[in-house]
């Protein structure tokens, strides 16, 4: 059993005022695949390196399998950093390439053979065990490298952007393999990435971190369906969620000249600090084209359309005071435009004004002052 616990863990680099990781509390359950995701410099790699023993912990404790490892040397922690550039040795067989680290550790021969055979079975390499790397494809070589970490049977696997040196096509393949492999092995895993797609597709749970502070931990669907704050809402999901701040008038959101109904229990949670405004978020797939007389819809000036065959996307500006919003925004990148997924057979023309209706059950509402979720 190897549960990992970060207990009020803080890391402040020498000479810095602000912690790079601030009072982190996080449990990784036994056998769980936890993905730590966030933008560059958010503290995710620092967190992994603290668990590995490469970075000092200034406050708090780290436990692996109930044992306090906070000040323990890396090699005594029974963790494996997975395929950080493992090289394959040309004269050694696949079996020896996978098992040599055990040989160094003095593991008995039959035990090594047993573990190597087990790993080879999982990695689909059994028939290649007596071959040399030369007789393998690149993908098989990659799996041999994974085998090196697997046969050690560590308590925890640590993976820091392990796919970053593979090109895009190979990355998608390997991503699937790693996730499947981890599930078969059931070894507790901490996986660090900046890529939210990797996080969503691989993790049992995802922990989102920003500027050293943990934002939310949950299953992929939980983070996708109920982001706890504006940052998580905007970070998780691609294309990303539409997020805009609107005035609240008579309990409704005033979007341009139109109004959209809001649930009363959310509006009631707004405070004076919010200044009579609310952040309304919705995913591109949770809105649809409405009829011109639909009372609960807003107007969008279409700037661009995309037909991907299976899906269509509209990119546009919300119309305020009768004209399209700031002309400057038209020229800016599509990320700042409101994005709506529609039936590609019913794409409006560029320049047209359309009415958009948000699925009320899929609306994400946040307080402007705290950026926290209201509904």
């Amino acid at each position: 059993m190897a549960e990992v616990v970060f207990d009020h863990v803080t890391r402040i680099y020498p000479g810095n005022d602000k912690p790079s990781v601030d009072d982190l509390n996080l449990d990784i359950k036994d056998g769980e695949f936890l993905v730590l995701v966030g933008p560059s410099g958010c503290g995710k790699s620092t967190t992994l390196r603290m668990l590995a023993g490469l970075e000092e912990v200034n406050k708090g404790r780290i436990l692996i399998g109930g044992k306090d490892v906070t000040t323990m040397q890396p090699k005594d922690r029974d963790i494996a950093m997975v395929f950080q550039n493992y090289a394959l040795y040309p004269h050694m067989t696949v079996a020896d390439n996978m098992g040599f680290a055990l040989k160094i550790a003095g593991t008995p021969k039959d035990e090594i053979r047993k573990r190597v055979e087990k790993a080879a079975e999982i990695l689909d390499l059994t028939e290649y065990l007596d071959r040399k790397p030369k007789a393998l494809s690149g993908g098989q070589r990659q799996r041999v490298a994974m085998g090196r970490a697997i046969v050690r049977e560590p308590k925890v696997f640590l993976m820091d952007e392990p796919l970053s040196n593979l090109d895009a096509k190979l990355r998608v393949q390997t991503r699937t393999q790693i996730a499947a492999l981890q599930r078969q092995l059931g070894v507790t895993t901490l996986y660090v990435t900046h890529d939210q797609t990797e996080a969503l597709t691989m993790g049992d749970r995802i922990a989102v971190i920003k500027l050293g502070i943990l934002q939310q931990v949950g299953a992929p669907t939980e983070l996708y369906d109920r982001p706890a704050n504006v940052f998580v809402a905007g970070f998780i999901g691609s294309p990303s969620m539409n997020l805009n701040t609107h005035p609240v008038v008579n309990g409704k959101a005033k979007i341009g000249e139109d109004t959209v109904d809001l649930p009363a229990e959310a509006v009631n949670k707004l405070t004076a600090e919010d200044g009579g405004k609310i952040v309304v978020g919705f995913r591109p797939e949770d809105a649809s084209l409405a009829t011109p007389d639909d009372p609960n819809a807003f107007s969008l000036k279409v700037v661009n359309v995309e037909d991907l065959g299976s899906d269509g996307y509209i990119y546009g500006n919300i119309i305020t005071d009768g004209s399209a919003a700031e002309a400057a925004q038209v020229m800016s990148d599509q990320n700042k435009l409101t994005t709506i997924r529609v039936n590609p057979r019913a794409l409006p023309k560029v320049g047209a004004t359309v009415k958009i209706k948000i699925d009320p059950s899929k609306m994400h509402l946040f307080a402007p002052s705290t950026e926290l979720r209201l509904n």
Partner: protein, 473 residues
Amino acid sequence: MESNNLNQLDPRALKATSVKAEDASAESPEPQALKITAASSNPKMFTLPWEKPLATWPTELLANLPRGISRHVVRFVHVGDEVYAMKEITRQVAEREYELLRRLQKLDLPTVQPIAVVTGRHDANGEPLEAILVTKHLKFSLPYRALFARNLRPDTAERLIDALAVLMVRLHLAGFYWGDVSLSNVLFLRDADAFSAFLVDAETGDLQINLTQGQREYDIDLARTNIIGELMDLSSGRLLPSDVDEIEVGNRLADRYHSLWSALTDTDKFNPDEMWKIEKRVNKLNELGFDVDELEMKTAEDGKRVLVRPRVVDAGYASRKLLRLTGLDVQENQARRLLNDLDAYRASTWREGEELEIVATDWMREVYEPTVRMIPREYRSQIEPAQFFHEVLTHRWFLAEKAGHDVPMAVAVKSYIENVLPQYKLDKKDVDALNAEADSGVVDDEYTYNESDYDDDDDYNPDDDPDAAVWSH
């Protein structure tokens, strides 16, 4: 690199390059057109076939030099008069490594010299290709496998380990965490009777203000495991003398590292009347090749003892001295040998009262240059002049001992060229075999990643491996 650390880094490292590895989360788009960010202005760079995957570049462009094992496709390419090492990797990794290597260079650390990052590559069909990191091939250097491909002294493995330990200590002192230490990620230059090691792969590295003990210990532990693995591999290929104990050699790295680290960083305690011990310590550090920049001295709390901690700047004590005297830029042990010969020359010409700078000029003209001019043309790309000089001196000593009297330099040179130098030659067959081995570790070559041709190769028998046959004699 954590950006919040940047403001405290050595300013030389901070201003090393305009390439800032992209913030991975910003996902800036790949350049649409070929983009070369280069530290040298070699116009021939633009004439290379960037639109082709590196593995398919025409052989007439390639330099047939031995390559080390790598997960990526690597080739040596003639570019004008120079030879560059090209490595095909993702753009982010390429930019990051280029930036790091630039920084390490600015800190005068022994690494390969970064030349360029090439991004925005597309093939003839407009499909994107991976980026290429270009570094300059380190002249006369060899990967460790090439050193074992020839008859070598039985202690070669140990001498390589010693060089690697020095490299690790130097990098760690400068705040560089390597993350992937191995013999494969190093190139070796002969340095008199020892070797000097140069870092060639910084993919997993990180430059910080100071390293934690955990980072240093992790590097050492990983180095130990990798070295043992690399030696076990040589042993499987029957390339390692059978009496070498791989695990013992791996342990030697940890021992050498720790003793060097403590010699360089430990605090000594002296009585106030034992200040001569400070000089002894400084001399010892100079002997190890390190310069002392400052001494930090403070009185212990009891007021009776002095605590002394040297601030070591860098290795290269002798080589800097020789460079100042002669303009020769050579490895540390070579420099020591040349300086000794210079001293002997001064004594034998009765010029001990004269300024060393003047004597050095004459020594260059009368001794050093005439000797190294005799290196036969076909060996000029294989042996460094200073190494040649050192080996001739050693050879002359052996000849003299055997003959029972002094042997003139010209005789020694002739004998050395006839009897010793041919061992340096790495023939084409050796290089081809080494490179075939190196290629058998490549993982991320898109064109072989999913190849399943091998599945049909049912009658493959490892005992019949053609490589094994090459290596067995």
